[in-house]
Amino acid sequence: MTGTEGCDRYMSSKFEPKIHVFFCVNALDRGVFSTQDPEKAARIQSVKMPCSSMIKDIFMLKAFECGADGVMVVGCPAGRCKRVDGNIRAAKRVAWVQKLLDEIGLGGKRLVYTASSDTDAAITLLLKGLAELGPNPVKPAAQASPR
């Protein structure tokens, strides 16, 4: 399971969303979020983290500032976080930022949290949300950098 199998149906549509994925290195097989499809790979930017709880509000917002249409945070399945409750913290933080995205009019559906065991369903959910919302309406600032 590399976490990109669910992309095919939605990413073949006219709107090809750019997705940023923040993932826990312990959550995915071989610690890699990858795809064999070069076109798909060009649209997914992944960031490895030692634990999903290292995600911060600013990282998620910065991804949108850099032009991402959607953002996904991948943590360990319930009860399997090496840092005990890192995945719970990450999920709560994502929920907070979803509300913030709704508040600023960008749409909370552009952001999802998922356990690594449900990555496929989460990508499907994210892409459905993006199909509703359309592309990120904010043009990336020239100085915005994902790094």
Partner: protein
């Protein structure tokens, strides 16, 4: 500590609408602890505002900086250059910090980014509760360390009202009855005698009712 809550984005946006370059100035003490205005919150708010205005095709440049305390002149001087570079300052400090900034930078526009709410404690991670009203005449010795002025919804000084149920206030089941807490604690300490004391009507002059207060320590003034 002083507890504050960040204002809604919509309200902040309207305050900032006339400006192109804004300094978002965090405060590294109380408002950082309650997640309203530290480094992380300043950065997050900056990004949120850029995204919010970006949808309207209005460009806004934000600079984020956090000083240790905005209520002390020695610390806010560190922000002088950043203040000068921007058209307005959105301060994430409490009301005291905003006013200290306004006093120091008389020619700069100072805007509040948070609503200052209460003096409280961190009851558990993520939960802050009001404990003190700053009444200027502390009687916590009488009440076993539990303040009826702040924690009793009716500010009763002479015992419970009769409206509490199972130790909860009739105003809200989420609020502990302060007088139940006081009685339980005084009982546990063997200080039930305190409950026989008559507390006269409170003199509110030492509080804000007597006008803005000052504290002067002559031994520290040169």
């Amino acid at each position: 500590m002083i507890v504050a809550k960040q204002k809604p984005i919509a309200e902040i946006k309207e305050m900032l609408r006339p400006y192109q370059k804004v300094l978002i100035l965090g405060c590294g003490t109380c408002v950082k602890t309650c997640f309203a205005g530290g480094e992380d919150e300043a950065a997050t708010l900056g990004a949120a505002l850029r995204l919010a205005f970006g949808q309207e095709s209005k460009s806004i440049e934000t600079e984020e900086l956090t000083v240790e305390r905005q209520c002390e002149d020695a610390f806010i001087q560190e922000a002088a250059q950043a203040v000068a570079r921007n058209e307005a300052v959105l301060s994430l400090a409490c009301g005291a910090g905003v006013q200290a900034m306004a006093r120091r930078f008389a020619k700069s526009v100072l805007l509040p980014g948070v609503n200052t709410t209460f003096i409280g404690v961190l009851e558990k991670p993520g939960l802050f509760t009001e404990e003190c009203s700053g009444c200027g005449d502390c009687d916590l010795d009488t009440f076993g360390g539990i303040c009826p002025v702040t924690r009793c919804s009716k500010r009763l000084m002479n015992g419970p009202c009769g409206g509490s149920k199972n130790g909860k206030c009739e105003v809200s089941p989420d609020i502990d009855c302060a007088w139940q807490l006081i009685i339980d604690r005084l009982t546990a300490l063997g200080l039930q005698g305190n409950l026989k004391r008559y507390i006269p009507a409170k003199d509110w002059r030492p509080s804000l009712a007597g006008g803005p207060r000052r504290l002067l320590r002559e031994d520290h003034v040169i």
